[in-house]
């Protein structure tokens, strides 16, 4: 586990540097004086001059990049050009809703995908298998915005069942749940296909293994063989693959948040980019990169816990 984490940490360094370079470029690119940009439009000339010195704008580019990283580490992420709030406060407000949306999407789609994938593997070659796989292929081929628009139209506008704009409140409140329902349904739907496909092939592989044959030979019931002996082992690669798909889910989340005006990081990032709010765009991209590194670490840890074989390494 320590090994896996060290490995992941080492891999994260170039990713962090890449994100920093993008962030740095964005700050440099902002029209006008970068010091002014960081200080915000309402800053006095004294403050701007001080920030310019702090930023070391007269120093070599690499030094500037280092200073930029140091400022970020100290919690100075700049101010939004539009709202004039600090970037960190904007990001802080949007972070929770995005985590909630991801959670609300995965909490139902992952179990359903695993269930469908297992069923397809067990009934391999039957019409059930073929139907599940056909639905999965259709699922991975649907543009997320199409699903979102249709669900919004159908559940929100035609049937008037649920609200479909914004966020009602925290996930544990009734209004929060009602508001997150259609976005989480849309985002979860695009995740079922990949999860079902991954689970199916993983279960098929495990079903061929000796210990499954032994379990059958012992006369265990088929349900027990599949649930206790096959699925448990098959889930290990599925966890890793779900981690790898985090980027895919993130892409879906950006679109979903934008369509439903859901106040998360994705919508914040797109809005900032479209309105040339460079400090905020920089912050959102950095936070997304950090979040992605975090997810990968979590998956590595989970993998280590689930797979006893990795303890030796």
């Amino acid at each position: 586990m320590i090994h896996a984490l060290t490995n992941r940490l080492l891999l994260s360094i170039p990713v962090l540097i890449g994100a920093l370079v993008f962030g740095f470029l964005l700050i440099k690119m902002a029209p006008g004086d970068p010091a002014q940009v960081m200080a915000g439009p309402s800053a006095t000339p004294d403050i701007v001059a001080e920030i310019r010195r702090e930023m070391g704008l007269d120093k070599p580019v690499l030094t500037q990049l280092g200073l930029y990283a140091a400022r970020l580490a100290q919690g100075d992420w700049g101010r939004s050009l539009i709202s004039n709030k600090t970037v960190l406060s904007e990001l802080g407000a949007a972070f929770g809703p995005t985590v909630e949306l991801m959670f609300a999407s995965m909490v139902w789609s992952v179990p359903l995908g695993v269930g469908l994938g297992t069923l397809a593997a067990v009934k391999r070659g039957s019409w059930i298998d073929r139907a599940i796989m056909a639905v999965s292929v259709a699922g991975v081929s649907l543009p997320i915005f199409f699903i979102a628009l249709v669900l919004m139209q159908f559940l929100g506008v035609t049937l008037r069942l649920l609200p479909f704009m914004g966020r009602g409140g925290p996930l544990w409140s009734v209004d929060g749940l009602r508001h997150i329902a259609i976005p989480a349904l849309s985002l979860g739907l695009i995740f079922i296909g990949p999860v079902a496909r991954m689970t199916r092939s993983s279960v098929l592989e495990v079903l061929r293994l000796d210990h499954v044959r032994t379990a059958r030979a012992k006369g265990l019931s088929e349900t027990r063989v599949i649930l206790r002996h096959a699925l448990r082992n098959a889930l290990i690669p599925v966890v890793t693959l779900i981690g790898l798909q985090a980027g895919y889910l993130l892409g879906g989340a950006v679109v979903t948040e934008t369509i439903f005006s859901y106040p998360g990081i994705g919508r914040l990032a797109v809005g900032a980019i479209l309105s040339s709010d460079f400090p905020l765009a920089q912050g959102a991209i950095l936070l997304l990169a950090l979040g992605f590194i975090g997810i990968n670490m979590l998956v590595d840890m989970l993998y280590a816990v689930l797979d006893p074989r990795s303890h030796k390494a």
Binding site: L11, V140, L142, F146, I273, A284, L288
Partner: protein, 296 residues
């Protein structure tokens, strides 16, 4: 020398000479998917000829439904959008741009990635470096790369293609390497070395040639994902810019009129769905025929 070489080449390709098209045609769903996809590609290529109107030309007939619906106009087969532009014409030109974005991104990204993967398998000393590099790139999700590049370069087709191409590199490198590894174990590679072929000849004629078909299958599956992501970026307003027509952007333009004129958003969305679905079905079938090892 040349006789030996010729002989080796004829014995060599274990993967490339499978009658893939016959197996593919035996699967009716895959054959149909391939047919539909090729028809779409042909229509997209011929868009300037086939399109009845200029895709950017607006008219006073706004948000008209398709010709067969009430209030539909016979000259606008699929209706018009919010600016009175002919949807069929925009669809043809939009499919063209959408397919082109996907094609360029997958060809460039997949080409670079595959080359790296093959080099890794061929030169074991390079391998750890290339694979570490791929791991790093995998930690940078495509959507994030897209957002970052658009933020720096401004919205447009170019940053989207670059982001999608870069995002395709690490996966292609890994797949190409795993395919190439199994080819490297074959006897004919040893034989090629024994007859004194240069590294370059061994690499291109013995290794790369035998990996190409399997790599292509992977690319076809990747193509669908790339198209979806490119369309999503355009939908968000980060990709193609008006007045160009792009399917994701068209869907986005129709989104505010979902209530009055749902066809404006639904038709381009369905077009993306059909393109990606046919690519995925044909790609899945091709993979099963050509290289069952790639099954994921």
């Amino acid at each position: 020398m040349s006789a030996v070489e010729r002989l080796d080449l004829d014995d060599a390709p274990p993967l490339a000479r499978a009658p893939w098209w016959r197996a593919l045609l035996a699967d009716p769903a895959a054959a149909l998917a391939l047919l539909v996809f090729m028809a779409i590609v042909a229509a997209a290529i011929l868009a300037p000829v086939l399109a009845p109107f200029d895709p950017a030309e607006s008219s006073r007939a706004m948000m008209r439904p398709p010709a067969w619906a009430a209030r539909g106009l016979p000259q606008h087969l699929l209706g018009t959008d919010g600016q009175g532009r002919d949807i069929l014409s925009r669809l043809l030109h939009g499919a063209r741009l959408t397919l082109l974005i996907g094609l360029v991104a997958v060809t460039v990204g997949g080409g670079v990635g595959s080359l790296l993967g093959l080099l890794g398998a061929f030169y074991p000393r390079l391998d750890p470096w290339i694979m570490r590099g791929a791991d790093v790139m995998l930690s940078f999700p495509a959507i994030l790369l897209g957002l970052a590049l658009v933020a720096v370069m401004g919205a447009g087709v170019a940053p989207v293609i670059i982001a999608l191409a870069i995002a395709t590199i690490p996966d292609s490198a890994r797949i190409a390497r795993s395919i190439a590894e199994s080819v490297m174990k074959q006897e004919f590679i040893e034989a090629g070395r024994a007859v004194g072929l240069s590294d370059a000849a061994l690499f291109t004629r013995y290794l790369a040639r035998n990996c190409v078909s399997s790599i292509m299958v992977f690319m076809s599956l990747r193509f669908g994902q790339v198209i979806l992501l490119g369309a999503a970026l355009s939908f968000l307003g980060l990709g193609a810019r008006p007045p160009a027509a792009e399917l994701g952007m068209m869907a986005s333009q129709g989104r505010d009129a979902m209530l009055l004129a749902p066809h404006v958003a639904i038709i381009p969305s369905l077009a993306i769905f059909v393109i990606v679905l046919t690519v995925n079905i044909a790609g899945d079938a091709l993979r099963d025929v050509l290289d069952p090892r790639l099954r994921t």
